[in-house]
């Protein structure tokens, strides 16, 4: 049992936050994966005790602040997804990368669905189908995310 990669976790979460608020041209923005969510998912799977649901909550809160959405919207969505992933992290970790990508895809779908539902309940529905695109690109770059984030610590 190695030490928890807390510093690395915070650092990569910050970098992911930067990446996800970086101004990009419109078409790139649509396909931009939710980097912060991916980073949170990664650490929930490989080091569930380092961040856990708290990491998900605060990362979601940061997304709320930067996107100007209702405070707590992405926080709730991301803590829910983190909770599920932390619970099942042993199973997910044992899967090959391709299946992990699939799981991540569903996690991202769940995340986007919760925030979509909250959008609707708070009276700002965005029914644009483009909002779902990032779930796909996020799942596609998942192997890359693993490869990158593994360098900072040595997961068991």
């Amino acid at each position: 049992m190695n030490r928890e990669p807390r510093g690395w976790m915070i650092f990569s979460a910050l970098v992911a936050l930067f990446l996800s608020v970086l101004p990009l041209p419109h078409w790139l923005e649509i396909v931009r994966p939710a980097f912060l969510v991916l980073a949170v998912l990664y650490f929930s799977i490989t080091a569930p005790r380092a961040g856990g649901i708290g990491l998900g909550f605060f990362a979601g809160l940061a997304i709320d602040v930067f996107q100007g959405s209702v405070l707590g919207q992405h926080a709730l969505a991301l803590s829910l997804v983190t909770y599920i992933v932390v619970r099942e992290h042993q199973i997910i970790r044992s899967k090959p990368a391709l299946q992990q990508s699939l799981i991540v895809f569903f996690a991202l779908l769940a995340y986007e669905f919760v925030s979509f539902a909250i959008d609707g309940w708070t009276g700002h529905p965005i029914t644009n189908p483009l909002r779902w695109v990032h779930t796909l690109t996020g799942a596609l770059i998942w192997p890359l995310v693993i490869a990158l984030l593994e360098r900072g610590h040595s997961p068991r």
Partner: protein, 465 residues
């Protein structure tokens, strides 16, 4: 599976279980959302968070800012000189226009019988830089580098050199978020400059649409949309967009109108925040709508000016008094303004007011002479005002002095306005049920049974066309 359970147990031994923690955070999130939605309780928290986020937003946008600075400082002398030349020419042009504008404003003021010319409605301008385009491309908003420290407030109008840009939503100490008029959540009351037709322009994500115009509305490509001054955020008379496409479907009661904003929303770097004189007749009413005094007595000699919208009565009464049927129509002409103000909380998304507006204007749509069009307007506006007691009576009497033919004129547009008030997707409008009974009233003297069958009337008329 047993593996996962044992993992849970080991986690639980180190502190609260994940389930418990999740429940805690979920409750926290829901509370946050509730507080944020419910009003101003979280305003200070948001303010602090926005201040904390600003450095990161600045840092993130610094590469593009650096690139811009580089490319600007690398410009050649010739390019600079050419630009200088162009700007000078433009300035001269604008100065000449301003001279003419001053003369016109003076003349207008004299015509209205004012003792002194009105000062411009904009009291103060502040140039702000666009720091960051919001990361979420589905919401159209930008971040400005001015905040409460510069006096910026929530729901402040933002313009660029070409037209309306949007309004501020969240204001931090040094930054402010601006929702663009093309955002799908944004709607603003506009007026078609050519006809004076009032309606609502809704953002579509890429442009604007006028979703509440009946199929027979007088609108065509190239029409300029200006702010109507209703809604309490934007002052009257600023350019918003140009109509690009009008589509009329024979079976649709509503026209499909698209418009392109005049402001360069996709490539603007500097915008202007505007403060308006509250006591100016063209100023937007205060957001609460109730605390504005009776207005400038020099500007509006009418009795009982509507509260937040001092701009509408002068315009309306001028039109009304210009016609033979002006005197009886006068009380009715102030009534729509009243009906409009009664249901205009905060400008955005009130289809009820929109349908009232289109109803009132659709009466003017048929080009049938001044008096006919005038009287057509009066009963239609009584339809919008029928929630306010007393107004229908005056609206009813208005068309009579003009004979039966104008009354007939008045009826047709109302048949058109029937579906416009009732059908937009079953929109939950408070005025829809009250506008419905208003339709048969002006049409009673006529022969054609309309009213509840307004939809079928409109469709047959559409088929005839």
């Amino acid at each position: 599976m047993a593996f996962g359970v044992s993992a849970n147990r080991s986690l639980a031994s180190r502190g609260p279980s994940p389930g418990f923690r999740f429940a805690l955070y979920a409750i926290l999130s829901v509370t946050l959302m509730f507080l944020d939605q419910r009003g101003e309780w979280l305003r200070d928290v948001r303010y602090v968070l926005q201040a904390a986020a600003y450095p990161i937003q600045l840092a993130v946008s610094s590469p593009s800012a650096a690139w811009r600075w580089m490319s600007e400082s690398m410009q050649t002398r010739d390019a600079l000189r050419a630009e200088n030349e162009r700007l000078r020419a433009r300035q001269r042009q604008l100065e000449i226009r301003t001279l003419r504008y001053d003369a016109l404003a003076r003349e207008n003021a004299e015509l209205r019988g004012l003792r002194d010319a009105l000062p411009p409605v904009a009291e103060k301008w502040l140039v702000a830089e666009v720091v960051n385009v919001q990361p979420n491309s589905l919401r159209q908003s930008v971040l400005l580098n001015r905040g409460t420290r510069n006096g910026v407030f929530k729901s402040q109008a933002v313009l660029d050199d070409f037209g309306l840009v949007g309004q501020t939503t969240h204001v931090g100490p040094w930054s402010a978020e601006v929702i663009l008029i093309t955002d799908t959540e944004h709607e603003l009351p506009v007026e078609i400059e050519r006809t004076g037709l009032r309606t609502i322009a809704a953002g579509t994500g890429t442009g604007l649409a006028l979703p509440y115009l009946p199929a027979n509305a007088d609108v065509k490509p190239g029409d300029l949309l200006i702010t109507s001054g209703l809604g309490g955020v934007f002052p009257q008379g600023y350019p918003v967009a140009r109509v690009t496409a009008v589509q009329r479907d024979a079976v649709q009661p509503l026209a499909q109108v698209r418009a392109q904003p005049l402001a360069h929303l996709d490539r603007m770097r500097e915008v202007m925040l505007v403060w308006f004189r509250d006591d100016h007749p063209a100023a937007p009413g205060s957001t609460s709508g109730a605390d504005l005094p009776a207005g400038n007595p020099h500007v509006q000699p009418q009795v009982a000016p509507p509260k937040p919208k001092p701009s509408t009565p002068p315009v309306d009464s001028e039109k009304a008094s210009g016609t033979p049927g002006g005197v009886p129509a006068k009380p009715a002409s102030t009534a729509p303004a009243k009906g409009g103000t009664a249901q205009k909380p905060s400008g955005a998304s009130e289809p009820g007011r929109a349908s009232g507006g289109t109803g009132a204007e659709s009466g003017r749509a048929p080009e049938s002479g001044a008096s006919g069009a005038e009287s057509g307007r009066a009963p239609a506006s009584s339809g919008t005002a029928s929630e306010t007691s007393g107004a229908p009576a005056s609206g009813n009497t208005a068309p009579r002095p003009n004979g039966s033919a104008p009354a007939d004129n008045a009826r047709k547009p109302n048949a058109g306005s029937g579906p416009s008030a009732t059908t937009p997707g079953g929109a939950p409008t408070p005025s829809a049920p009250s506008a419905e009974p208003a339709t048969p009233r002006p049409s009673a003297p006529g022969s054609e049974p309309s009213g509840a069958a307004g939809l079928s009337a409109a469709t047959t008329r559409g088929a005839q066309r």
